[in-house]
Amino acid sequence: MTLDSFSFMRHEILLLAVIILLLIAEIFIPKNKKSNIVHLVVLLFGVHTVVGIFPMGEESLFGGMFRTNNLIHFFKNVLNIGVFILLLQSTDWIQEKIFSQNRGTEFFLLLFSSLLGMYFMISAGDFLMFYIGLELSTLPVAALTAYETSKRISSEAGIKFILSAGLASGTALFGITLLYASSGSIYFDDIMQLIASDNLTILAFILFFTGLAFKISLVPFHFWTADVYEGAPISVASYLSVISKGSAVFILMIMLFTVLKPLMHIWENLLYLIALATMFMGNLFALRQQNMKRFLAYSSIAQAGFILLGMVTGTQLGTATVVYFVMIYIFSNLAAFGVVQAISLKTGRENMNDYEGLYRTNPNLSLVMMLALFSLAGIPPVAGFFGKFFLFTAAASKGYYLLVFIAVVNVTISLYYYLLVVRAMFIRTNESAIPYFKNKIYMRLGLIIAAAGILVLGLYSPLYDYIYELSSSFCGCDL
């Protein structure tokens, strides 16, 4: 390793720089001008996102603790774009509600710290780095969840989150300990060679799996999801559902396909069972929800179940489809949460029946929401359709026909509740419909980027080919 090697940590170093710059700015900007800091945040993070996109090679640093390759690099960029959209969508809320309490900058500091944790988590080359990344990505979110201190429900969500997270990560740490006990190493490369499919390893694996399953909200580790989403500020719920979940899915996939490949016969069945349970639980609960945030919480649980369909395959095709789907899911969910955020901020209304007649008063918002819901439900020609279609193709190519069939049944169920919202917006009328309002520029930009992503990602096929190509670059797929 040389000094130049630090360039392979471009994302981490840049984000750290952004955090430090913000800290300095927080000190020097006078109190009455503090809300302007959001412009600085958007600018800095925008630069960070753009710089991050420049290509980068493959490298392993610090004796294998930190590694990066094209797929990891690509995924970090996806996370960056997601967070950027999220920032655009949350600035109004922060300017209006949070800076009045003089606590605006911390929000970004916490958010970026958590993102930094995710970078380290998905770039980890050993379990120590992985665990530190996991904790760094989780702990700030607990503070963010409880950010609206004036609301009891927000504090309650924060408590539930930190307790659940503590339990889950404790379990995962116990799993890592046992893995060390059975293999004698914490480095991924070594463990891949040494691991044997004995009972101790299986126990260790399942304990470890819990930690990530919690973040992805897989059944039965999902109970926190709805309560936390409902209580947390919408930006944070959005962050939990897309960025946090997306990164956890990604690292879980990398672990399963590389380090834990020798246990494939175990995790195949494990994922199979959990996929079934997750899809059904998510969908059946989503059917009855009235609160949009809870509704989207269960919807995101169900989506996680679909993701497992691609993961169960353990192939290059599976990798590509999962990454592709997660990317589409990020855009779709950000669009949906963005609309909920915009409406909640202006009117404070978050229930499904508040959306009745929305198309008549706010046609553009309704169209974005419709695109997002269509994409989540998987209706062509929006991107979600292609995402699901490829996932199912991947699972079917490995012979999981029954699983695919059940997934299709679940898509049908999900179609019902997604269309409930569309019906409320477009067909129902309501005398006290949400009146017309105009969003500020950042919010509009955030919604437009997300909506454009939903449309473009599905139709621009070279992107999928590109991901497929990248997927071959990380080892273990061809085993």
Partner: protein, 639 residues
Amino acid sequence: MNLSFTILIPLIPLSVFLILGILSQEIKPAVSGYIGVFGLFVSTILSYFTAYQYFFVFGKLEGVYQTFTQKTVWMNFTDTLHIDMGVLIDPISVMMLIVVSTISLMVHIYSRGYMKGDDGYTRFFSYLSLFTFSMYGLVLATNLFQIYIFWELVGVSSFLLIGHYYTKPSAVAAAKKAFIVTRFADLGFLIGILIIGFYTSTYDFETLNNPEGSAILNWASGSFMGLSILTWALILIFIGGAGKSAMFPLHIWLSDAMEGPTPVSALIHAATMVVAGVYLVARLFPMYYFVEDGFALNVVAFVGAFSSLFAAVIAVTQTDIKRVLAFSTMSQLGYMMLALGVSGYDGHEGVGYMASMFHLFTHAMFKALLFLGAGSVIHAVHSNFLKDMGGLRKYMPITNITFLIAALAIAGVPPFAGFWSKDEILVAAFEHNKLIYFIGIFVAGLTAFYMFRIYFGIFWGKETKYKHAPHESPVSMTFPLMVLAFLSIVVGFIPFSEFITADKAGFEAHLNYPLAAAAVGVGLIGVGLAYLFYKKENDLAERFSEAFGSFYVWTFHKFYFDEIYLFITKKILFQRVSWPIAKFDKKYVDGTMEGIGNKTVFISHKIKGLQSGKFQDYAFALVSGVVVLALVFIYFLNY
């Protein structure tokens, strides 16, 4: 030669469509008109530049026009079978670029005057741009699937534009009718495409049309009911083309489509979209010609000839001037089809192909002019019917002169454009099949007759009592009329046979004087009869229609085709077939599904207690989940 700029030709109207569509509430109508016209103006310049470059600079290699393509793979099925997106430049696509650009630009300019004050002004222009984009995409398509995509897009934009006055029930019905009938025909097209994909494993025009390629050489590889499978595919594709080009018996939508604003009729239902069927057959001409010795091509010839006669007869009796023009369009499209149908491939043999494209070109100019002229008249008198017109020549001199030029052109009077192209068609028909030739020449007479019938009816004859004195239309409307009139005079002199031929090599075409004289003679007889009947008010016409008796009534009612279709669909299909199926579907299929749905909701109701809201329960679930999973995977599923 770098052709990448040609992609801009369709993309500019697309962006205009998006801009006008998204900002329709915020843009002032006047501005949207300018945006539309300007966008199309740029596209037109690019089209002309492409045409110049192609025909005169780099298109020819050793006397043969080459085909240039630029494409990317959009969807990959196998190594050879994939759907591409791209542009294809060859003589007919370049010619169509000119037709679409010219007519569309004229219609855009014209619409600024015609649609003034209309509530849906911006919407109208955005749809016009959408249509133009789709039509460009259609003519530039590199493969069957791409052409199919744009084929449907022009169908949709036609639907939207026919239904522009959506508060008027008849316009809505007409839009639906046009869409459903053409969609129904497109089903044939789609099946044809799939068959071709299956048997030749390519969609690419260049590969399919190569006379030495496997698609054409191996046409006999499969057969079905006595014909080669590829012949069936071509016939199915022709059904799609017949739907768009309003060939008998799929013609019923065209006359109703006149409910749309008149500029739309001029653009879509006279000059561009309706010739898509002709273009499709021309595009696949080598296949039609070589597969099974041109069996499918004969079908094209006879359907074209019959439609041409059938429509011309109906046109004689209609009283709505736009409908006369609609049936005239159908008749002329039949002409183009029959010309393709009687064409050969090499050198002068291919005169029919050349004549068809030539007629497509000239017809686009004078038929658009006729429609725009009719629009100008309708604009002045606020009625479509002959009885509300008469003697307008004094009030509308420009419209009168330009309409007369167009009528002379379509009647085949030299030296106007229609004469030259019609003559070539008749030559081709004469050399190939005498029956078709006689149909053709009879139709030529009928055409001259009905066209001058409405000409005299509108501009001469007895003057109706007008509430307001009619006046000439504004410059924005008369300018396109004059441009198109100019074109209707000069385009006939283009030596088409040097540019556009079946084998792309070019040949010398000569006037066949006896045949030309016969055609002109018949045309003049038609004009003369119309002069006698309609120039001055008299009862000759009525006496004649009485002499024809019930034939006249049948013709006036378009041979009751609408009624037959309605009877078949409403009385037989809906009542005997659809209703019982719908009932079964409601009772059993829906019943089962609803049962499942209710059960799902019921279950979701039952399990809601699982989410208690207490952290202790969640923690318990998490820990017991881990324990259970560990036990299961260590002791039961560990293999």
